[in-house]
Symmetry: C2
Subunit: 663 residues, 2 copies
C-alpha cells in the first residue's frame, strides 16, 4: 500500500557496518555478536563459498575458536599436519626424500596446524554468530557499497554516526561468483566486482539504501573497495610468482602423500603438498616467475576474461597444464587424479596497505591490508586475527566503556604482524623459487624451521601501548618479561597450561576457562599461601580490599569488564575451600555460589598438572597478578598485593571511561 512512485531512500543506523563476508568479516561479526553490538554485515556475492580458497588453520586460530566454543567442530573435520618431508633431485634429476621434520612446533599449543576448506570455517563462524546474536546478525547478500563518506565534523563525537554508506541491492544472478563445479568449468575463482566497474547501472536508485554507522570495517579482500574509497595505497614488492593450485583425490605411489611435503625438482619447478580432509590433497605448484612492477593497487590476480594487463599467458593456466607440471615434478612417482575438486591459478605480490584506517572510524582488515603468497598458509589466519584484535575494541567504545583512543592500537599491533608476515613470505618465496643447487636444503630447512614458530600464530608480540603495559621500544623478536613472571611475555598471548579446578578437582587447560566474553581478566597467582604466611595475609588483604562496596571491582563486574581468577600453588592437603576470600567465591542473588574462580597449580592423579607456575616463571613464594586482555594477550603484570591491584586499577583508568581508581 506504500506509494510506488519516487521511492524514498531507505535509511538505517547501525553501530558497525562490516563490508565483506570473508574470514576477516566473519571474525569481526562473531566478536560483535558476542558483545551484543548492533551490526550490519554485507557481502556483494550472492552465495557463500563451496570449495577451494584458503585452507590453513594455525594453532593460535584454533585456540581462538576454542574461546568461542566451536573448536570441537573444527577438530572433528580438519586434517592435521604432524610431519613435513623435504624432497630434492637426486644425481639423476629425480626427486627423493632428503629429510623429515616434525610439523609445527610441538608443545607450543594444544593444537596443530590444520587444513580444511574455507567454506567449512565460514560455516562454523556463521553458526556461532547466529547463536550469539540470536539470529540478529546475518550476512545480507548481494549488497554492493556504492559510496562512503565520513562526516569530519562528527568524527570525534562518541554518540554520532559519522560514516554514511550507500548500498545497492543486486539481482542474485549478477552476483554469483564463478566456482568450479558450481557454475563454470573454469576454476579461477574471480574477485567479483559486481556493478562497481560500471556505476552507470546503479543510477536508478530503486534498490539503494543508506546506512549510517559509527564504525565501518572494510573486510573486502585484496581488491578492497573500502581501501580505494579511503585513498589508501597498497604498496609492495616488484617480483611476483605465478601459482597453480589443485585440490585432488590422487592415485599415486608417492610414499608421503599424507604428509606435508616441499618438493624441489631439477627443472620443472616446486610443489608444496598439503594433505586435506577426506583423502583430498592440495598441491601448490609454482609455475614460473615473472617480473612485474606493482601498480600500487594490489590488483594483480589474473582472472581469465578481465581487461587487466596481466603478464601471464593465460592460455596455459588450465587444470591440465597445472597437473602436467605437477606430474613432471613428481617423477619418478606417479600422480593420477581420481577426482579434481577445484583448481585455480594466480599471480600475487607481497603488499601492505599504507594505512589500516581513516579517522579511527573506517578500518580495513585482512587481505585489504596485506597480500602475499599462500606458501606460509597464513592469509586466512592473519585476516581473522586482524578483526579478532579490532572488534572487541570497537565494542568497548560503542558501549561507552572505553575511550576511542584504544582504537589506535589496532593499526599499531596488526601492521607489525603484516610486515613480519610479508618479510617472512618474501624470504620463503625466494627460497622456494630458487633452483636446487642455488641454495642448500639445510638453508631451506633453516628458514622453514625458524618460520615454524611464526606460522603457528603463537609468537605474535604486540608493542607497548595503552593496552600493553611494558617499556616502549622493545624489539618484537625478544619477548619482554616482568621479573614476577619471567617466562610470560607481556604483549603475547597467554600460553596454555594445565590447572586443577579447586572445587571439583577437575584437571583443565587454562584456555578452556578463558572464553571470549569481552572481559579483561585478573589472574591472581597467590602462590603457596598455605605454607608462606605473608602470602596468606596478602590474599586476605586483597580479598578484603576487593570486597569493599566502593572498590572499582564492583563497577568493573557490573559492566562485565573484568573477571577474577585465583590460582594458588599450595598442596591440596593443606587447602580448604573456606580459605579463599568470598570475593573469589561470590554468590548470586539466589545464593548460588560461583565455584569456578579458584584453581590450584597442583598435581592431579588424572592428568599431568602442577607446572603452571614454572611454565610462567612465577615463584611459588612470591606470586604475581597477570592482566589478560579480552583477546587473551598479556597486558600487564603486577605484584600480588593490594598495591598491585591498585596499580592495575590505575592502568585500567587510562582507557576505561569514568573509572575512578579506588584507594
Amino acid at each position: 500500500m506504500t506509494a510506488p512512485v519516487l521511492p524514498l531512500l531507505k535509511e538505517s543506523k547501525v553501530d558497525v557496518l562490516i563490508i565483506g563476508a570473508g574470514p576477516a568479516g566473519y571474525m569481526a561479526a562473531l566478536w560483535l555478536a558476542r558483545l551484543g553490538i548492533k551490526t550490519k554485515f554485507i557481502d556483494k556475492r550472492s552465495t557463500k563459498i563451496f570449495t577451494g580458497q584458503a585452507d590453513g588453520l594455525q594453532p593460535r586460530v584454533l585456540e581462538v575458536f576454542e574461546t568461542f566454543g566451536f573448536v570441537d567442530r573444527a577438530l572433528k573435520e580438519v586434517a592435521v599436519g604432524y610431519e613435513a618431508c623435504f624432497y630434492e633431485p637426486d644425481e639423476n634429476g629425480r626427486i627423493r626424500r632428503v629429510d623429515k621434520l616434525p610439523e609445527g612446533v610441538p608443545g607450543i599449543s594444544r593444537f596443530n596446524g590444520s587444513v580444511i576448506h574455507q567454506g567449512r570455517i565460514e560455516t562454523w563462524l556463521s553458526d556461532a554468530i547466529d547463536e550469539f546474536s540470536g539470529g540478529a546478525i546475518r550476512v545480507q547478500r548481494p549488497l554492493l557499497p556504492e559510496s562512503l563518506e565520513i562526516d569530519a565534523a562528527d568524527a570525534d563525537s562518541p554518540t554520532a554516526y559519522p560514516v554514511r554508506v550507500v548500498l545497492k541491492k543486486l539481482e542474485d544472478d549478477n552476483a554469483a561468483p564463478e566456482q568450479y563445479g558450481h557454475k563454470v568449468q573454469n576454476g579461477l575463482y574471480r574477485q567479483f566486482d559486481g556493478d562497481q566497474t560500471n556505476p552507470a547501472k546503479s543510477d536508478t536508485g530503486e534498490h539503494q539504501e543508506v546506512v549510517r554507522a559509527k564504525y565501518v570495517l572494510g573486510c573486502d579482500g585484496a581488491h578492497s573497495w573500502v581501501r580505494q574509497q579511503l585513498g589508501i595505497e597498497h604498496r609492495g614488492e616488484t617480483t611476483d610468482y605465478v601459482w597453480g593450485v589443485l585440490d585432488i583425490t590422487p592415485v599415486t605411489d608417492f610414499p608421503d602423500i599424507r604428509k606435508r611435503c616441499s618438493i624441489h625438482s631439477q627443472n620443472d619447478g616446486s610443489i608444496m603438498l598439503i594433505p586435506r580432509e577426506n583423502g583430498i590433497v592440495r598441491l601448490y605448484i609454482q609455475l614460473r616467475q615473472v617480473d612485474h612492477h606493482g601498480d600500487g593497487n594490489g590488483d594483480d590476480s589474473v582472472p581469465a576474461g578481465e581487461k587487466k594487463s596481466a603478464r601471464v599467458d593465460r592460455s596455459k593456466l588450465t587444470a591440465e597444464h597445472i597437473l602436467a607440471t605437477a606430474q613432471k615434478i613428481f617423477q619418478p612417482y606417479s600422480l593420477e587424479v581420481a577426482e579434481m575438486h577445484w583448481f585455480t591459478a594466480y599471480q600475487i605480490g607481497q603488499r601492505v596497505a599504507t594505512a589500516f584506517q581513516k579517522d579511527q572510524r573506517v578500518f580495513i582488515a585482512g587481505d585489504a591490508c596485506h597480500t602475499h603468497s599462500p606458501k606460509a598458509g597464513q592469509g586466512m589466519n592473519v585476516s581473522m586475527m586482524d578483526t579478532f584484535n579490532l572488534a572487541w575494541k570497537i565494542g568497548y567504545v560503542v558501549k561507552g566503556l572505553a575511550r576511542p583512543s584504544i582504537l589506535a592500537t589496532y593499526e599499531l599491533e596488526r601492521r607489525a604482524v603484516a610486515e613480519d608476515l610479508i618479510a617472512y613470505d618474501l624470504k620463503l618465496s625466494r627460497l622456494f623459487s630458487s633452483k636446487p643447487g642455488d641454495i642448500s636444503t639445510n638453508d631451506f630447512r633453516r628458514v622453514i624451521d625458524k618460520g615454524s614458530a611464526f606460522t603457528t600464530g603463537c609468537t605474535v608480540n604486540y608493542d607497548a601501548s595503552l593496552l600493553v603495559d611494558k617499556p616502549a621500544g622493545q624489539p618484537r623478536d625478544v619477548p619482554y618479561h616482568s621479573a614476577l613472571a619471567t617466562k610470560l611475555a607481556i604483549g603475547m598471548r597467554l600460553p596454555d597450561v594445565r590447572l586443577v579446578m579447586q572445587s571439583d578437582a577437575r584437571p583443565l587447560f587454562i584456555n578452556q576457562q578463558l572464553p571470549s566474553t569481552g572481559e579483561f581478566r585478573l589472574l591472581i597467582f597467590i602462590g603457596d599461601y598455605a605454607q608462606v604466611p605473608p602470602l596468606k595475609k596478602q590474599m586476605d588483604d586483597i580479598g578484603e580490599y576487593l570486597a569493599r562496596p566502593e572498590n572499582s571491582l564492583q563497577r568493573l563486574r557490573a559492566d562485565s569488564i573484568l573477571q577474577l581468577m585465583l590460582i594458588h600453588a599450595s598442596p591440596q592437603s593443606k587447602v580448604e575451600w573456606d580459605d579463599f576470600p568470598l570475593v573469589f567465591r561470590p554468590r548470586d542473588k539466589r545464593g548460588l555460589m560461583n565455584y569456578w574462580l579458584v584453581f590450584g597449580d597442583t598435581p592431579s592423579p588424572h592428568a599431568q598438572t602442577g607446572d603452571a607456575y614454572e611454565q610462567y616463571g612465577i615463584q611459588r613464594d612470591v606470586g604475581a597478578v597477570v592482566v589478560l586482555r579480552p583477546d587473551g594477550y598479556v597486558a600487564k603484570v603486577a605484584e600480588p598485593t593490594v598495591k598491585g591491584v591498585k596499580d592495575i586499577w590505575e592502568w585500567l583508568a587510562g582507557f576505561i571511561v569514568d573509572l575512578k581508581p579506588s584507594i
Copy 2:
C-alpha cells in the same frame, strides 16, 4: 477406501523386535542399526524421559560411545567425578571430612566416570540410531505387547520367524508416564504398566497388530513383561533398603558440594552426594531399612497408588521428608534448595533372573535380568553393556554369517557380570547402612577402593567360549594372559594405548581406530621388523599368504567380518611405506589406497607414544597377533606367523558359516 468392518490383524515380519526403550533397548537398536538389521523398536510409554532416573556413565560405556562416534557429545555435557570425599561424625556427632581419594582408577581409561540424566543419554543414542539406520529404526510408541509365543517347531530354522508377538497401540493419554514437573507433582517415577494389568480392555482388536520376529529382546525393565511371559523368575536377597533421591540446585556452605561424597551421620542415615551437570547435585539418601521377603517377581518398588503390599509408610516419602532427612545428615552444614528438579523414593532388592533367554530366540537384558541399589552407579551401564554384548551376535546370525551357537555366549558372559554386580552391591549396601562405629572408615574405603575398578566397567572378564579362546575354568578375578602378550587379558576389553598412524605421523588412541562396525579385527604386532630380520620375513610371508586369492581373508573382507591392522615397533628412521605388504595398503576399484591400516608404536614429538608393546606385554623382537571381537574384547592371541594366522582362520571357522580355513 479399505473396508472399515472386521479389521484384519496387521502382520509384519522383522528380524528383531526390541521391547522397551530404555538404555538396554537403545543400545540394542544402535548396534542393529549399525549392522543394517531389520528391527522394530517399541515402547509402551508415549514420551521419552525428561529428568531424573539413572545418571551414571562408567568409563567403559564412554569408550563404547566413542566407537559409535558420539562420545564428544557426551563429554561436552557430563559432569565428571575426579575426587571422592568421606564424611563421618566427629565426637559431637556432627559430620566432618575424614578422607579424600581420587575418584575412579586413574589411568584405566581415557574417560572418567561421569553423570548426566538418562534423557540426554537416550537422545545421543537415538540420534545415532537415526543416522545409522537412515531413520528406519525409531521407537514406536505407545505400543504394548499383549502376547508372546515361540513356535518350537521353527526354533531351530535359520530362516524362520518363530516368535509371534501381538502388540496393541495405546491412546497417548493412557500411556504418559508420570514425571515430576511434567504431569504430576509426585516425583515417583512409576513403572508404567499400560493396559497389561487390565487385559479385558484390549479385546476389541481394533488397534492390534502381529509381529513375527526371528529374535525378540525384552529390555522392559525390572518388572519385565517379557520375563514374565517366559516364566523366568527374578531371584534375590531378602533385605531391601529404602532410598530417597533428590536432584537439586543447592544453596549450601558444605565445602565439597562439587565432589562425590559419602556421608555417614551419627543417627540420621547416610548420603551419597553426586554433583551433576549445570550446578545440579544428586543426593541418594538411605532412609531406613526394612525387612522384606522377595516374592520372586522383582516387583518391589513402591509406587504410590499401587495395590502392592508395600512395607513402607508411603506418607513419609515426600520431597519434604527426604530433604529434611538430608538436612539433618548434613549438620553442621546448611543445605537449602534453590530449585528441586526431581525426586523419587524406592525400595529395591538385589535380584538376578534365573535365565536370560528362552530357546535362544527371546532374550532379556538390563533391569529385566538384574536389579540392585543405585549406590554403585551401575544399573544403566550394565544394561547397555548387556545388549552391546548381545546385539552384534544376533546381527551375525540374522545375516547368516555366524552359527546360532554363538548366542549362548550372551548368558554365559552377562550372567557372570550380573552376579558380580549383585555381590558387590550387596556388600556396599550393608556397609553403607551400617552405623558409624560398627565398621571403620578404613574398611569402608577398602571396599569402595576395590570396587572402583569394578565400577569403571573396564575389568569385565568373559569366560572361555566359542568367542573367547582360553582354557576353560579360569577364575574371573585373575586375568588370563598368553605368553605372547603378558599384560593383555583374553576375555577382557582391549586397553586403550597410543600409536602413531604410519602414513601421516598422527598420534592417536587405538580405541579411536576401532569403531563399532561389526568387524572382528586382526591386530598384527609384527615387532621391530626393520632390525629383526626374521620378523621382516614373517611380515612378508603373512602378506604373501593373505594376498592369495583363495585365502579366507578375501571372503572375510567381502562380508565385512574382519579388518586388518598392522602395528610395528621399528624406529621411524628405518621404516619406509613401501616396506609394508600391499595387503596392509589395499587399493579400491578406483585405485585409491587405504592409508589407515598401518601403525607404529614409536615416539611422536606431538604426544606421548611408543609404549603400546610394553603396555600389552608384547616383546618387540617376537610380536603377536591379537584378535578382537566386534565389541572390542580380546578373543584370541596367536603368533605373528602364517601358522598363527592359520590358527585364527581355524578358530573363526568354529562359528563363522561356510568358512573353509585356507591352507
